[in-house]
Amino acid sequence: MSHHDANMVKVTDATERIAHWILALSCLFCLISGLGLMFHTWEIIPTILGGYYATKWLHIFSGVVFAMALAYAYFMWAKECRFEKDDLDWILQGGGYLWETEKLPPVYKYNAGQKAFFWCIVVFGILIVLTGLGMWFSDSLPVVVARLAFMLHAMSAFVIGSFFVVHLYLGTIGNPGTVQAMFTGKCTRAWCQTYCPRWLEDHDKNCVA
């Protein structure tokens, strides 16, 4: 297709996009329902979801979905998200988001921030899934472990929740044009030039070939 529309580059395929959205939406749902379960004052959330009991099970089910999506996402993106030497440089420059920087190292598919987000979701995702399971089946665990599970689940939620917002911002209005990658799967060549220049080079080579 790219031959026809030289200005647009296909950056994601459908599987990737579906996986992303399952992961994102289940995560978001978990976050919202989780917040509803965490703060009594937000009773509106469980009320909308059909009550506390329904909320509990929706939370658990979406957690299971999240876990499966996470597993898929891991195998899909882990390779592309492996950290490289340049990533450190990128991070040291704050990805260019916070102050004017001289020269960011050229990024392949994902920049260090994106990679960090990925690994954060993987690590804390696994943790939140495992602790979630621990809470679900807490009666078969030693009480010390079960108690840790409840605490670490909350901690993971805090981390994931925070990063989730960062991701949301940078994926949408923070970086205009990016959101297309997860809808149509196509971004402008210029966008690619900006965010994944090295990958674009490879991409073009492959296309030519």
Binding site: F39, K56, T101, L104, S138, R147, F150, M151, A154, G161
Partner: protein, 262 residues
Amino acid sequence: MKNMDIVKVIDVTKCTACRGCQVACKQWNEQQATRTHNWGSYQNPPDLQSNTWTLIRFQEYVDKDGTFKWLFRKDGCMHCTDAACVKVCPSGALYYTEFGTVGVHRDRCIGCKACVTACPFGIPRHDVRTDKCYKCDLCYTRLLGDQKPACVLSCPTGALTIGDRATMLKKAYARVAELGGDANVYGDKFVGGTHVIYVLGEKPGVYDELPEHPKMPATVLWWKNFFKPFTLIGIGGVAGAAALHYLIKGPHEVKENKEGGE
């Protein structure tokens, strides 16, 4: 008269383990029995259950002087002032009543088992069939109706008594003074003071399943006092920072037709 601070005293030195309380509790609260087996002890069911909110624990014990003692302890909810279960309960099923006790809105319970793990005394129990958690509510409705809790009413020997906090504590301490030796009052000095207070004949460490220094678990404190607010602060903070970033720095623009990316 609301907010009357009620305390139930369990004087284990008067308990004869007749288990009137254990049955009275089931009778009033309409809890089913389970089919048990003799496991070499009078204590049955072997532990608290979702349908057994109070239980007499039997313990054969030889003290430091070599004297044999058969210890009986009525186990059940301690009704903490700083109750871990209330703190962790997501749905508001567990709450502080006007008597200072910990009540249960059973219909609100979602069976998350947070209370089961959080309780420093290991009291609440989860029932798989109803997917709810259960524990003693000190017969809240009876208290409202100006009646003694079922267990207290049934106690033949005065091992269970109930009244306002100050009076009951005074009585408990007087009883301990009368008993002398290792006797002690258990419950008024931790978790904000429990609303069930023991008069123990032996040191707390002697009794099975009775924590010597019960306290709100650190995990609960981290969870509820740190991570819980920080989740909000984290999410809110990040969102705020993003907004500021957008306003101050603006969106990150793609530079058209320029060599190299940033």
